[in-house]
Symmetry: C2
Subunit: 288 residues, 2 copies
């Protein structure tokens, strides 16, 4: 693998925006793109890099990083990039998508001699902003080695989980924990409210014991104050849970946390709260 010095970044949302910023701070970022081009133009200006108007604007990149939401977008980006990147280049996908999408993306890029890593992340917008994400990688060890310096721009931990698709499999597991912990914390705090306990005492007391967790630390106080600015949008967790459910179905397994969370987040999205943080689940718990 050749050393990576010119990186393109596609998908400048709540996660991608700050991640691109960290790459720029390391002197690695060359060009940024986004489905809504205005966002790319604005960030490109701020960071002093180029804004992509067409796939060909990524042609000089050694690596292109994707951070988008939907499986179809990942595949479209990979098809576009397969036509413009030089053989030996690398595409890293930080999106959360199906394992099959990772396998398809890797295969179509391989035809053009381009390497691929599925590398979904966890750590929330806080992790993206402070450069402390956990990156779960599927792919080849040598390819990952060539990308370590790039990833270190925004990763606390990078773990090679197995061959292509293993990153997405790991992220699916991660989302079971994320959904289940949201269930636990939102239900517990709604119960605490119903019992008349004070949020300002309750949250730190719970956090100091065996119930301590990231979500309580980061979202406990805000959800009890009815603040649901994402964070991580409920509609995106619902999308991820559908990926998880398909994987569970393929294994012939029934997982109660996944099934309950699918019902609840679908209800939340249907009620118009899909753009709110996943902690908005407390709305349902309060009404039960």
């Amino acid at each position: 693998m050749k050393p990576i010095s010119r990186v393109g970044f596609i998908g400048l949302g709540a996660m991608g925006g700050p991640m691109a910023g960290h790459l720029q701070a390391k002197g690695l970022l060359a060009v940024v793109g986004n489905r809504t081009p205005e966002k790319a133009v604005a960030l490109a200006e701020t960071l002093g890099v180029a804004a992509a108007k067409a796939p060909s604007d990524f042609s000089g990149c050694d690596a292109v990083v994707l951070c988008v939401s939907m499986d179809a977008d990942v595949l479209q980006c990979c098809r576009d990039l397969a036509g413009v990147l030089a053989p030996g280049a690398l595409v890293i996908d930080h999106s959360t998508v199906a394992r099959e999408t990772a396998l398809t993306a890797a295969a179509l890029l391989a035809e053009a001699g381009i390497a691929f890593l599925d590398a979904p992340v966890s750590g929330g917008v806080e992790g993206a902003r402070n450069g402390k994400l956990s990156v779960m990688v599927g792919g080849d060890a040598e390819v990952l080695a060539s990308a370590q310096e790039l990833l270190s721009a925004y990763a606390l931990r990078v773990t090679l989980m197995g061959p292509t698709g293993a990153g997405q499999a790991t992220k699916a597991v991660n989302q079971v924990l994320v959904a289940g912990i949201a269930q636990a914390v939102c239900e517990g705090l709604a119960f605490g409210e119903a019992l008349g306990l004070k949020p300002e005492s309750l949250v730190p007391t719970l956090a100091a014991g065996a119930a301590g967790n990231w979500f309580l630390d980061k979202r406990g106080a805000t959800m009890m104050a009815d603040q649901f600015t994402p964070g991580f949008k409920s509609a995106l967790l619902l999308k991820d849970l559908r990926i998880v459910q398909a994987m569970a179905d393929a294994l012939g397994r029934h997982y109660s946390v996944v099934e309950q969370s699918l019902v609840d987040y679908a209800k939340l999205v249907d009620a118009g709260y899909g753009e709110e943080d996943t902690s908005a689940l407390i709305r349902l718990k309060r009404a039960n």
Copy 2:
């Protein structure tokens, strides 16, 4: 309140044993008691304090600390102590019991001029051993002030949550989180196993992101290695969940995490795993 210099301790289990040790290290412990008297005799010898053979052996104590399992045991201890402690003494109950049990205990002790704090704890056997428990207190602020030095022997954090019973109400909320996080982590790790992911990569990767939590840190690796030494016994979590369910019923609420966890832990206990750690829930998740 008079200063506390002679403390009695009743209930020398996985939590109480190390907590009594911390009191001894502070020079506060005078006498220990236990339902199985041999345990008290053995620990008394180790710590160089007296072993109680009868309630009257606690008569010279300024404070007696309870760390037992069942509501009936808390009430029996309080009835016994009401007959032997001097007016102005204090009883602190670290057991997890119903809020009504705390109110009854406080009332019967008050008749003898004895103060009471309901003060359940969280932080697991690790927290008891390293003296870093979160203590959730119900009772009078002045009474708590008199007990702060005693509690600091094994507490990371002491929080006055409200009047008598508020400590137990808070612990009930804590157990909703504890049960729900066990659901999330056990289901996620069973799913990870089914997907063929390696435990030694999976656990630290999940722990480094938004799915991070106490239970994953402390029990993730052991449960994937089929080690279920408590920790916190499944039968005791089931007992606690029944307290929670009664409180939810009284509020007219339905809580899905609580209801699913009651079903699952009853199944686990019925199958003979009640003495195992709560992480043994992964047995059910693997079989689903």
